[in-house]
Symmetry: C2
Subunit: 257 residues, 2 copies
Amino acid sequence: MSQQRPGGQSGQPGAVPALPDLPEATVARLPEYLRALHHLAESGHDTVSSEGLASAAGVNSAKLRKDLSHLGSYGTRGVGYDVALLIEQIEYVLGLTQRRAVALVGVGNLGHALAGYAGFATRGFRIAALFDADPSRVGELINGLVVRHIEDLAEIAEAESIAIGVIATPASAAQLVADQLVAVGVTSILNFAPCVLSVPEGVDVRKVDLAIELQILSFHEHRKASLTSLPATGPAAGLTALPGGLSATGTEEAVGT
Amino acid sequence: MSQQRPGGQSGQPGAVPALPDLPEATVARLPEYLRALHHLAESGHDTVSSEGLASAAGVNSAKLRKDLSHLGSYGTRGVGYDVALLIEQIEYVLGLTQRRAVALVGVGNLGHALAGYAGFATRGFRIAALFDADPSRVGELINGLVVRHIEDLAEIAEAESIAIGVIATPASAAQLVADQLVAVGVTSILNFAPCVLSVPEGVDVRKVDLAIELQILSFHEHRKASLTSLPATGPAAGLTALPGGLSATGTEEAVGT
DNA sequence: TAGATTGTTAATCGATTAACAATC
DNA sequence: TAGATTGTTAATCGATTAACAATC
């Protein structure tokens, strides 16, 4: 149905739709579809079925079709989706038709790696500036960019039209950096520091915490181990939950609190 | 269903519960609570209310209480939660009472940074081995560990009781590495390569894709821009969605496909 | 036309949240 | 006892999925 608005009773016929208001879960999957589509395009496919794309993206095909239907997408029944067209549509809604300028704050271990990460450049972004608060790092050249002092943020953010800030500082500095980014008008932040940031409404923060990812995997490991060897082992409700009757996994080495 | 479970009608009184089967959303938040709790403990709190912990972890307090109730948790009405006890309980369910050995494959840009990431060590993990397929990198010393050739994986995985594999290779190598990890018995994988891995049932994979995080932020930037300046601009259904009538954002530079 | 595959429906499932009785 | 705060209920919301009519 609906030519130019998912949903039917759009008041004005002929009115071009604003950006569709996609479910968050859908937004989070579109980049994965995009990656899979680029891969398909490179291997010469110009058409793909929902089944084919879904399996390339690691999701269920009903979910894929539902997601694409929110875009008001244009597949062809009996045929599938035009790869190039779908790439264009997804890049459009994700706002990737303009390359966005990214400022990276904190050029320690991780920041260094991020500054050199080729995937940003190939997937719609341009690292436009590097910052650090440590004067001894300022001036350093990383991947063709000079590290600037965080004090210069305002000036450079304006000059480079920074759209997204990436925080790769220690947790102790992250809130201050976030405040500074917000102060110069940045409304999207990717935070690698292991802490919660508080920001005004209208500012989006996404967080990547590497240790948390491992801890989630650890839970499942623990779970799998407790299932294979079912000698009722438990948290000893209320008491200390230390070793006691653990079992079967192998490595056993208490972790300091 | 389920014989010995937190939640009321457990058959055997005195029977210790196996690991509770937590909702995935809860599992994903527990590490955040844990981090906040350690922070509170360091600043001398020995008790915290659900309201206080929730705000430190950036969630709603009803959600926090619900999450903790799945652990069969032991708060005290009118008082709050005992910080040290809660830390113990969460570390127990997450399987952090034993320090897990991690193998990191791929010591390029990102792998290098991960090998040096202190957060792993302080939060329950031990990077036990580094691997690469490039002979010219083998032998290199990173953070006190020698880079080994991926061929030696089997031998070392056994010797070090590797529990979790981290893939930081290019996408083109990631599936092969995953197969090799699975072959030596690893059942938890953290994948930084931008691709979908296929693994047998029983193996858990978590994926971190840095460009995807930025693309999600880009969507919201695009969305915010399309709302503030409402001159009906749209995807030109079916046609190319290139610049045309875009507007207002500033940076405008087409991105290559 | 027959076969294939989309877009949508509707049922189901899981997650969130406000509200409040239980209880310290 | 009065005040505070948990643990749980129940309502709501959003996401997933199988199934299938529409249609190429």
